[in-house]
């Protein structure tokens, strides 16, 4: 946008593996365009030069797991005109939210020699649980094309084309043969949000739900089918829901239900 001040971009990290930020660096073809359209003001993963806020667009990766981070996110929100959380950690708490189902102090006692120095929260929580978020981009990791789409939408002042329907719809558009119906392979695609391009089913694997629950998911109905028709146990169903999006509300509710059925009383 010639003549105009380029919007300032900041990329922040909380508890995460860095995979989502790396998706941005991985956008080989578009990376130069991104750098041309946005002033990369804060992105420690990519550059050491740091500009002070406020920022026009903040991409936030990772979940909130420490008291310090719970403070820090508020400052970032204050410094950001728009804030987009990216990835399963930032939008659902990530794999580290498995602690939410147990007592995290027990883990720290086992793992660390001096657990008294560990300051950690009992739950790993998504960014939106702490501050207002303008958009949540799902995925573990996020899909590059969706990230570019969200940035393009931001730059052009339009709504991003990020569908919230099922992975099945992507399967069918691509002509992927359904692994559940044709092979009997359990698949979470019917309750998972599209975005990956049906990656796993196109390699004959069931969907692992990296993109979290789709709009209006009916997880109990899928669990019932898996149990009655595909011979899945409560434990298998429970484990399939306890992954990167374990703490997404609908997955959490359903996995707890199977926990109780697995260990009644």
């Amino acid at each position: 946008m010639p003549g105009k001040r380029r919007p300032k971009l900041a990329v922040w990290k909380f508890a995460s593996c860095d995979g989502c930020q790396l998706s941005l660096l991985d956008c080989e073809d578009e990376l130069l365009d991104v750098a041309g359209a946005l002033d990369i003001a804060y992105f420690p993963e990519a550059t050491r030069s740091v500009q002070p806020g406020p920022y026009d667009l903040s991409l936030v990766e990772g979940s909130i797991t420490t008291p310090h981070d719970a403070e820090r996110i508020h400052q970032i929100r204050r410094d950001s005109r728009q804030l987009i959380s990216i990835g399963a950690c930032a939008t659902a708490g990530g794999i580290q939210a498995l602690r939410n189902f147990k007592d995290v102090r027990e883990f720290t006692r086992i793992v660390y020699a001096s657990p008294q120095y560990i300051e950690t929260l009992r739950r790993s929580t998504p960014i939106a649980e702490h501050v207002r978020v303008d958009f949540e981009l799902r995925g573990c990791p996020i899909a590059k094309h969706q990230l570019i789409e969200v940035i393009s939408a931001f730059l052009n002042g339009r709504k991003p084309n990020v569908p919230t329907y099922s992975v099945c719809q992507e399967c069918k558009r691509q002509g992927v043969v359904c692994v559940m119906v044709a092979h009997g392979t359990p698949c979470l695609g019917p309750v998972t949000q599209a975005g990956c391009g049906a990656l796993c089913p196109s390699y004959h694997r069931g969907c692992y739900a990296c993109f979290g629950p789709k709009e209006t998911p009916n997880i109990p109905a899928l669990s019932q089918w898996r149990r009655e028709r595909l011979g899945a146990s409560d434990l298998e169903i429970l484990r399939s829901l306890r992954t990167f999006n374990a703490a997404a509300a609908e997955f959490e509710r359903e996995s707890i239900r199977h926990e109780h059925q697995n260990h009644p009383g």
């Binding site: 393009s152 730059l155 558009r173 119906v181 044709a182 695609g189 209006t216 009916n218």
Partner: protein, 406 residues
């Protein structure tokens, strides 16, 4: 080119609907027939095995057909199995329908670019080529006729569909063995073709005999067949063919009762049955994607990072999504109950008001490819059952698992 008119033609009695006597070719001549089509410039598209299912794709010879394979289908389940014989067409319908060739699942419509103050629009050309569809089933012919009507029949013609549908040769196949999910006989859409094809064949395998009885449905079909050695069909051949098709009808285990269908659905907007099916339905949209008559799409406008280029894309859509009924203030059909009710009511009732026919041809795809085996014939029977004096006890199973094939 033969285009389905959607009307029923005369029944086959040794004479094809085109008024020519039927002929017989040995199985080896299928290769010659396809070769003639290729020499006439047609790309061959037919059923072929991929990822343990039978899909429609480009083929180059009959060897790529699913020879000796059959499909075992039930609600939410599909398995390929070996046959005892080496039939070319010993299976029914797979997860895909022919609609993907005429109504592509994803399609760019045009691009717009900005150059200073000027705006340029470049429509995407529709890439057409001569295509021969090999092995189109009777129900699929009817589905093509329905989509022809939807996309090209009214005041607004879909240009892309019309172009893609030109120059299509149709080799249809009568069905000898239905899947457990088929119910075309109850809708009069199969298991025998009536019209809308260039050539139609019935595969005959009896002992050492392996032949095709061929019917001519168009002038073009006649010319293609002339190039292949054949003999005239006898009365005995016609009797054999009748028996094959009747056997298929007899073996059909599902049915959709057509009488008063529209009235039934319009009367039952508030049936508690919708809550029951909504408790099982995943709103995943598989049923609409696999349906050969469903025609809904959405358009997306996308800009690039610079904002100097934009494009519009058309994608298959489904009434099972929230976005489908999104208007100011939210989605009109937010509950799965409302969405399933809309799908069934559109297929079987409002479709009649729109297009004069029902939107279902009885192919059974939505039953097989529903990940949780929801069966529309069962849903309709349940709605009827609730209205009957005994409240539908007896024949109607509320529990879907009792009806599932193993």
């Amino acid at each position: 080119m033969a285009k389905g008119s959607g009307k029923k033609g005369s029944a086959m009695r040794g004479i094809g609907p085109f008024g020519r006597p039927s002929r017989v070719i040995p199985k080896e001549s299928l290769r010659n027939l396809l070769e003639v089509l290729r020499l006439r410039g047609y790309t061959l598209i037919g059923p072929t095995v991929r990822d343990q299912a039978i899909v429609y794709d480009e083929i180059s010879s009959p060897q790529e057909l699913p020879i000796g394979w059959t499909d075992r289908q039930g609600p939410g389940t599909y398995r390929l199995e070996r046959r005892e014989d080496d039939a070319f067409f010993g299976f029914v319908v797979g997860p895909q329908s022919w609609k993907k060739f005429f109504f592509p699942p994803a399609q760019r419509l045009f691009q717009i670019s900005r150059d200073g103050k000027e705006i340029h629009t470049t429509p995407d050309p529709v890439q057409t080529r001569k295509r021969a569809l090999i092995g189109v089933r009777p129900c699929e012919l009817r589905a093509l006729a329905i989509q022809d009507r939807v996309f090209t029949g009214g005041a607004y013609v879909d240009g892309s569909y019309r172009r893609l549908r030109e120059d299509v040769f149709i080799l249809a196949v009568n069905c000898g063995e239905p899947a457990a999910t088929c119910f075309c006989a109850s809708l009069d859409t199969g298991p025998q073709v009536t019209d809308g094809f260039d050539l139609a064949i019935t595969e005959v395998i009896e002992g050492t005999r392996h032949e095709f009885i061929v019917h001519v449905g168009s002038e073009l079909g006649a010319r293609v067949l002339e190039a292949v050695p054949s003999r005239e069909a006898t009365d005995a051949d016609s009797a054999t063919e009748r028996e094959i098709v009747q056997r298929a009808t007899r073996r059909m285990s599902r049915a959709l009762e057509r009488s008063q269908l529209k009235e039934l659905l319009y009367r039952n907007y508030e049936s508690p049955r919708w809550d029951q099916v909504a408790a099982r339905c995943l709103s995943c949209a598989n049923c609409t994607m696999v349906c050969p008559t469903c025609f809904c799409s959405t358009v997306e406008d996308v800009t690039d990072l610079s904002g100097d280029h934009a494009e519009r894309r058309r994608l298959w859509d489904s009434c099972f999504t929230m976005d489908f009924s999104y208007i100011v203030g939210g989605s009109v059909r937010a509950s799965t109950r409302a969405r399933y009710r809309h799908w069934l009511t559109h297929k079987l009732a409002t479709w009649q008001d729109q297009f004069g026919v029902i939107g279902c041809v009885g192919c059974g795809r939505c039953i097989t490819w529903c990940p949780v085996g929801i069966d529309l014939t069962e849903e309709v029977a349940a709605l009827r059952g609730r209205e009957s004096p005994d409240g539908g006890s007896g024949a109607i199973q509320e529990n879907h698992h009792d009806r599932t094939e193993s």
